[in-house]
Assembly symmetry: C2
Homo-oligomer: 316 residues x 2
């Protein structure tokens, strides 16, 4: 039997056929066109499942279950997307609709949560009973796995790790609060600080690398300039790491997982990020002489969402 995972994004719907070892055997995709009535999007989600199964060389009889990674708050009990900002969806009955179309068990969870599940089952957190995966991209996404199960809270509004408060009365966040972690520990933050530094210190390497066009500064620009030992870029990167460390310390001192995996664009910095991060966390954590979470790079990359969604049927 195989398992199908759907990564439902604001731009594309991607479905993948996954075996029980987390290997992707075939894929299909279609544009989301989220402005349409949701029933049309759901219909396309079903169709893209069927197409992915064909592409993988299977029939629907081989499919044990379908899982959906949702860009927002999903209720695993009712199978609904409760709220998805990108799609402007409220209380959309995803699982029941797909089940009616496909005649398979359908499961749903938040996309960051299923990415965390994929890391826990096959990636950086493999073998750990409890782990947290944070994804440093446009925002900061979090997936919490406790005792092998996704923990998204009692009301499904948890694991929004980008919105733990790290700086009281700090920068305004889209969520309405101030000082949320993702305002300081996302690719967006690193880019913002890189641009500010390029404006303040025009002779810095960051500015030179984009020929003075600060709009072309990416997270990689800052990281590469820091690797090249540019003082300004090193300052920016150290500031980024310091905020990241304090958020990780918050997770260790509260949830204390076995492993914390770091994914997303910024994690491509690899050991250049991890080594100073681990050093700083060691200095800041509450119990310095006791064991605490390993900090590792996420391993599943862009496939985490599909693989984790597919695995919802395995752990159900």
């Amino acid at each position: 039997m195989v398992y199908v995972g759907i990564d439902l994004g604001g731009t594309n719907i991607v479905a993948g056929v996954v075996d029980k070892d987390g290997k992707i055997l075939g894929k299909a995709e279609t544009p989301t066109m989220a402005e349409r009535p949701y029933a049309e999007v759901l219909k396309d989600m079903g169709d893209v499942v069927v197409k992915a199964v064909e592409n993988a060389g299977f029939t629907m009889d081989d499919v044990a279950s379908v899982g959906v990674g949702a860009p927002g708050v999903a209720d695993p009990e009712t199978g609904d997307i409760v709220f998805a900002n990108n799609l402007r969806w409220y209380n959309v009955p995803v699982c029941s609709t797909l089940k009616a179309q496909l005649n398979k068990p359908v499961y749903i969870n938040n996309d960051a949560n299923v990415a965390g599940l994929a890391e826990a089952m096959f990636g950086a957190c493999k073998g750990a009973k409890s782990s947290i995966t944070i994804t440093l991209g446009t925002g900061l996404g979090g997936g919490i796995i406790l005792n092998g199960k996704i923990w998204s809270g009692t009301h499904g509004v948890g694991a929004e790790l980008g919105h733990i408060v790290i700086e009281k009365d700090g920068l305004q966040c889209n969520c309405g609060n101030h000082g949320c972690w993702e305002r300081y520990s996302s690719a967006t933050a690193l880019i913002r600080w890189g641009r500010m530094a390029a404006v303040e210190f025009p002779s810095c390497l960051i500015n030179a690398m984009v020929d003075g066009d600060i709009n072309n500064i990416t997270a990689k620009t800052v990281i590469d300039a820091a690797k090249a030992k540019d003082f300004v870029a090193i300052d920016v990167f150290n500031k980024f790491i310091s905020y990241l460390a304090d958020g990780i310390v918050t997770l260790i001192n509260s949830i204390d997982p076995e492993v914390i995996a770091i994914g997303g664009g910024v994690s491509k910095a690899g050991e250049f990020l991890l080594e100073p991060l681990r050093k700083l966390v060691a200095e800041k954590v509450m119990f310095k002489d006791l064991p605490y979470a390993r900090i590792e790079l996420a391993e599943m990359g862009n496939d985490a969402g599909i693989v984790g969604a597919a695995m919802l049927g395995v752990i159900a």
Copy 2:
């Protein structure tokens, strides 16, 4: 059958005999004298259990199990106190020693965790599968209950909610880090701010209430002055509530429990604390239109430690 709970503190050892409904049937206590060799303290812990059982009118044959609430990091698996700062204990074999003396099953967990368990089973969080109890005293203690079990993390170093970072590079904390929540949301913080306000605004009611002797300012002084509508005291109390709210928002956006119970000395302010706190949390939480944790006053008071410790044997 009855259950014995031991509240092991830096000053006193208190044992209580508890029935399965959380009712305390008898108690005994003895000074800890923590500077002694730990074997002597453990011997007294056993003796105080026997004494409490006598005082309650039972014999040891009626005792199903003994539980210990430890002031530090305890390992429920090995039964050891791994580290207790107050007692200067490292790797002390509490459960095995007591078991040898009393010939009963002995369980152990951190004192804030067992207080959370007591609230979850019989207090403010009764009926909730998942809850968090925070105790606002000298420090800020946390007990996390998930699916009816204590969650103290993979390595037992979690649930140290006083040490989530709420203000990046903020006030120095005893733990070595900066900006920990308990530096802003404990009775100690409220007293500190009250004293600072009395120095800065000598004509304020806080100062008048202690006849200018700021060392006599307590959390109650500030709260009473705020209730009496003194502007300075209201400012101090609002600042306190604002920090408390941001920490609670962090807990909701990450762990999302069903109930958050607030105990400790400051919680005696009752609705005067709770009403503005709930209002502020409602403004700051990530998903404003979705259900999230109820915020309630803890109900178990000083008995929470004994009752929760006793219940370790019930949930084991």
